[in-house]
């Protein structure tokens, strides 16, 4: 009896696993997306799926640098599209990781807002389309600290209430630029004394930081695990919406601005669907859905008509009068970049 049961269950499991393996390889139209975490509403992906009869799969990454690392670690050729930030588009193009979009392949290319067409990181938009843009500074829990927060001292020379309760993004570009702004030094510096000062600043500030993490940046503020944290503006707005009493800072020393872009990856397995998706994301209504979800700004003409009017009034998307301008992250040459990589390694080790 017992033996019989076992034999039967083995037979059933063999059959079942065969069916599962067969079942997993049947979809026809596919699109494979490599995207930032918590950035696109599932409903929008479902809409694209339905309209085009394409099965969309999405994996997520948590920093521009880890996107680059995993594409170079053998994942190129598995994905059709990725969403790197401005400087990373330039790096990926230089590394030969991007495919070129021929003239006329994108029907909606004309929807790109004029100021986002001839951008320094992809002049004429040969590999990318604008996705969302926003800023990165930091947010402070106002229950914990009530003083002036519009200074980078909050991160690098924090008041006693915040010391040891700060989360930093696990993102080389954003942390190093923020530190450079704090010192008032230029990006891609080759001045050894300045670089040494930067190194010392990071090492001394590290003692006051509780954790490094990008995808957790919102949750640590909401859960109270951190009292202040480097964060993207839209993510900070979401933290506030989820009940954290946080205020997003516009430090007088400056802050990071960025634009994420949908890029066509080299060796994309579903290139046609990838182009369809790019066109889809250039429709004002669709890109506005991302804006409403992630609470950043779109770079597509006409998207304003579909975005939640409340968003524009949010403190996270409106720098106060007279605040310092934001800065894009610069791409350095190899020798300089290796020193900055070393700075990061020394910080994270």
């Amino acid at each position: 009896m017992f033996k019989h049961c076992v034999r039967k269950s083995l037979a059933v499991s063999i059959g079942l696993s065969a069916a599962l393996i067969a079942g997993s390889a049947q979809a026809e139209g596919k699109l494979s997306l490599y995207h930032w975490f918590e950035y696109i509403p599932q409903e929008l992906l479902d809409k694209f799926s339905e309209e085009n009869d394409v099965e969309v799969t999405m994996d997520t990454y948590e920093s521009n640098e880890s996107l680059l690392a995993s594409l170079k670690a053998g994942k190129l050729g598995s994905y059709d599209l990725a969403v790197p930030g401005d400087y990373m588009v330039e790096i990926m193009a230089n590394e030969g990781l991007l495919d070129t979009i021929a003239e006329g392949e994108l029907a909606n290319k004309g929807n790109i807002q004029p100021q986002w067409v001839d951008v320094p990181f992809d002049n004429g938009r040969k590999h990318s389309i604008p996705y969302q843009w926003g800023s990165t500074s930091f947010a402070v829990n106002r229950d914990v600290y009530t003083g002036d927060i519009n200074t980078t001292d909050i991160l690098f020379n924090p008041p006693a209430e915040l010391a040891g309760k700060i989360n930093m993004l696990d993102s080389q570009g954003e942390v190093l630029l923020m530190a450079a702004l704090h010192l008032g030094m230029e990006q891609c510096s080759t001045d050894r004394d300045k670089l040494k000062a930067l190194d010392e600043l990071l090492q001394s500030a590290k003692a006051n930081w509780a954790s490094f993490g990008s995808d957790v940046a919102k949750d640590v503020l909401v859960s109270g695990d951190a009292a202040a944290g480097q964060i993207y503006n839209g993510f900070s707005a979401k933290a506030r919406a989820e009940g954290a009493n946080v205020e997003y800072a516009y430090p007088k020393q400056g802050y990071v601005v960025w634009m994420d872009n949908v890029v066509l990856l080299k060796d994309a397995p579903n290139r046609d669907n990838a182009l369809k998706f790019m066109d889809f994301m250039l429709e004002p209504e669709n890109i506005a859905a991302v804006t409403n979800y992630a609470q950043y700004s779109a770079g597509v003409t006409g998207a304003e008509a579909f975005t939640d009017p409340e968003l524009a009034k949010q403190p996270e998307s409106a720098p106060p009068e007279g605040s310092a301008p934001g800065a894009f992250i610069a791409v350095c040459d190899q020798a300089t970049q290796e020193v900055y990589d070393q700075l990061w390694t020394r910080l994270r080790k």
Binding site: L68, L195, G213, L343
Partner: protein, 304 residues
Amino acid sequence: MAAAGSGRTVSNTFAPVRNWLLLPTWLTVGIFMLLPIALMLVYSFLTKEFRGGVIWEFTLAAYDQFVFDRGLFGDEAPSIEWTYITIYFRSLVQASMATLLCLLIGFPTAFFIATRSPSTRSMWLFLVTIPYWVNLLIRTVSMKFLIRENGPLNQALLGSGLIDTPLQLINTNIAVQLGLFYSYLPFMVLPIYAAVERYNFSLSEAGADLYAGRWTILRRIVIPAVKPGIIAGCILVFVPSLGAFLAPDLLGGAKTFMIGSLIEEQFKGNAGNWPFGAASAMILLTLVLIALLFYARAQTKEQV
């Protein structure tokens, strides 16, 4: 262990086809386990490519980076680089502490269970092993939820008036410790249980006849007799603790690196330094092999 059926005649009914029976396993483990480890050793001696990947040029740079600090610009006189040694040392200490903690709680538990009547024994054992079958990730996440600053533990303690300010456990070494302890405790209990179950309690009685106190009996008679079980338990806790990734990442806030997170960072994170990651993994493997050799030696000594 390897020499099957000690004391029994070695059966050889399948001897003529033995190699064919072993071949699938040999091939699978050989190709997909041994070969990759050999390849990893090779990679640890290759040159790192700018922004990820490797160049096929032999260099000791990865091991050099592990041991020497050549300053921010790489041109200073080398001094000893303490960072990675500290990470490994910290991981060793963490793993040892977790092992010790597991032993302190696990030994009495195993002893208690092994001395129940046979029918209740299996029930106790079942209770202790169930959590082990629950996904490690889920267990770690549960622990994180329980001990976070405004989590149930702190709420309960605050509510009962035992503490005034919430315990800051999350993102500390204690949290990592607790996570490791919690992850691997059953690994300690099971081998000790098996050893105590086989222990002949008339030895304890003989000790008592000679007027030894119960704690002296435990220390001088029971513990030496069940030592193989204790050592096995320690190894089973120590080895996975050493390379643990989830507990440091989720409970330690990923700020204090342990070996596991250091290696992960080289492949998945910003660092993108494959040779250094391979070298770090090789060093970890060497440490584990040393621990296993120590174990093997203790076992053979036991048998002599």
